[in-house]
Amino acid sequence: MVTKKEIKQAVFVALWFMVLTFPIMVIKVNTIKHIVIFRWSHLFWIGIGTFFASLTWNYFLRRKEEKQKAETSDDVPLVHRLLQNDRFRIPFLVVLAIFFLFYPFVFSMYHTSIMISALVYVMLGLGLNIVVGLAGLLDLGYVAFYCVGAYAYALLNLHFGVNFWLALPISAALGFLFGTLLGYPVLRLRGDYLAIVTLGFGEIIRIIMENWDAFSNGPRGISNIPPPSFFGIDLGQHGTVIYIYFIVTGLVLMTIFFVSRLENSRLGRSWIAMRDDDIACQAMGIDKVKTKLTAFALGATWASIGGVVFAAKTSYINPMSFTIMESITILCVVVIGGMGSAIGVIAGALVLILLPEYLRAVAEYRMLVFGALQVIVMVFKPEGLIKSVRKTYEFKKVEE
């Protein structure tokens, strides 16, 4: 139902946006050749687009308000209901397992390598989900730990010839250490300060890597990082990609296992409690320092592991891979997928990373869409696409 008032408002909004976007969308200045191009057709499309956008915006806003009044917020998302149903769950998991098992053999090396990067993002997303989703600490410098992991493997290999399998635990430990070190000073800060400070840390690490030539080879980066070894057998180029694919799949499975165990553990529950109200939580006797630090450190550990895999996969790293945009992409995965919901984050990572890879034509709009989605998700569906479901216990009255 669209009322007359809303149409009037939508027309007004459309006119306002036509004025608003006029200089940037319509006029294009070429400052070198001194030419000005007027793109009048853009004005028309913006008018039409914002008119309908305004109508949908109002519609959803109204629906959200009605929903809040009805107070039926306990509905479990479809995915969760299906997964709880045994008749559906077992065949679903079997199909999924078969799909991922045969994926690298059915599809070409190119597709496998794209899938590897998507799976790395799944891992990073799940790691960041601990920090942002469960513990409610907005970390905008998450990529710093990714960087630590990648450089740890690259440098250890360069100087000491440490192989992939040894580098994995070392980097994980380093990530844990860095997470604790960086987490400690920022513990006292609340949400928004924390975001800026972590952003600062992320940038500091990248700038140091860029400028400290003697240590990290500066902006030229480090090349010839060896792929993981397979009992000393040379697998060839294609074989190596498949091998890395299976390693990543294994690591992702391990991550999913750990994260889902953590979520319902004593620690996980205290993270969630801390996120919801940290003063009440401290009053209940939960150690704030320990809880927040473990969240930070565990998140960092997974980022580090992801970094090692990334370095092994691309065989070349430089500081440009670890910019703030990378942190924001991972944050988008978590926010859009659903904060605190492991299934949401996995789905979010696969969709947000795979789609732009295959829709090359719109790939340049990727970050624009990510930004818009973040706002839209926060306004209409703050719990994300697939929201998390808290474990509940039901007491059933036994009838005599």
Binding site: P185, V197, L199, I279, M378
Partner: protein
């Protein structure tokens, strides 16, 4: 404990002071250049930091998209100036119109951003509003990049070289002089707006207690919108001035400038307007000395380190009041 702190403070100040005086005596012109450069830089930070601190004072939100508003001001000025320049208008008219349009469009964007991304989240958890702000910032950056160009665009200075300033131009250019003078004027106007006008009074009341202000008949939504508009206007002025100073702009200039201004606002005590100005000047001047005397490539690291140190040792900033968290 207190004595140890004082002793450490005095020692550090002494060493820095000694080194500083030695440098000043050995090359006073260089020192003066750095000082004035820092002052210019600080003035620009102050123009942006005001927007952060005013918004934070009223709705306790870090307006991440504020840096983008500043960038849009600079880009609009560039577009208007180029179009009018090609049409062969008088350069004085071009300068005035470019500034007017920059301010108008920055305000319009600031207003719209608030309506879309923050107003529906007024009662949501603070994390939601913050994520929405980050999304908005990302969106605006990419919007300008896709609609215009990802390259740097040369920006012809709108400020002419003043004839009367000729004798001093080797130490400080006319543009730098204009930046400092404009900033001072803007600060005075803003101070008067907040102190003497009705809307300024309403702003102060809303910052103190939103609910009580609403009960006493203040239209809180309008006050918040006005705050965004005023903050955007000062950011636009900063954007145009820095574009004249640096001579080139692209879609990404708002990001780092916004962060630095935020650091300045925190340094001075977020929520406090004199604090934002003081923090900006301190940050600008110390950054200038750091890059001049030490490592220029670690300029951003220095700024972020200041932020971390301030937040650890004095989270309320230089002029901020200490707040206890209430349940």
């Amino acid at each position: 404990m207190r004595w140890i702190k004082i002793i450490i403070g005095v020692t550090i100040t002494g060493i820095l002071g000694f080194l500083g005086i030695r440098e000043v005596i050995s090359d006073p012109v260089y020192f003066l250049e750095l000082l004035l450069g820092g002052l210019t830089r600080g003035s620009i930070y102050a123009l942006i930091a005001l927007g952060y601190t005013m918004v934070y004072g009223i709705i306790q939100l870090i307006n991440f998209a504020h840096g983008e508003i500043y960038m849009i001001g600079a880009i609009t000025a560039l577009i208007v100036a180029s179009v009018l320049g090609l049409w062969g208008w008088n350069s004085a008219v071009i300068a005035i119109l470019a500034v007017v349009f920059a301010i108008f469009y920055s305000c319009a964007y600031g207003y719209t951003v608030e309506k879309i991304a923050y107003k529906p989240l007024r009662n949501a958890p603070r994390l939601s509003a913050l994520i929405s702000a980050i999304g908005m910032s990302l969106f605006l950056q990419n919007y300008v990049m896709l609609a215009q160009t990802p390259e740097f665009m040369p920006f012809e200075s709108l400020i002419p070289d003043f004839a009367f300033w000729e004798p001093y131009a080797h130490i400080m250019t006319s543009v730098e002089l204009s930046i400092i003078v404009t900033t001072v004027i803007v600060m005075i106007l803003l101070g008067m707006l907040i102190k003497f006008t009705k809307i300024g009074k309403a702003m102060r009341a809303t910052a103190q207690d939103k609910v009580m202000a609403a009960l006493l008949g203040v239209n809180v939504n309008r006050v918040i919108s006005t705050t965004f508009v005023v903050g955007s206007a000062t950011a636009a002025i900063g954007g145009v001035l820095i574009a004249c100073h640096v001579g080139q702009i692209n879609f990404f200039i708002g990001f780092l400038a916004g962060l630095k201004a935020f650091i300045a606002a925190v340094l001075g005590g977020i929520g406090s307007i004199p604090g934002a100005v003081l923090g900006s000047l301190v940050l600008g001047i110390s950054e200038s000395f750091f890059t001049g005397y030490f490592y220029s490539e670690y300029e951003d690291v220095f700024a972020f380190s200041i932020l971390v140190i301030i937040l650890i040792f004095r989270p309320s900033g230089i002029l901020g009041k200490h707040e206890t968290q209430k349940v």
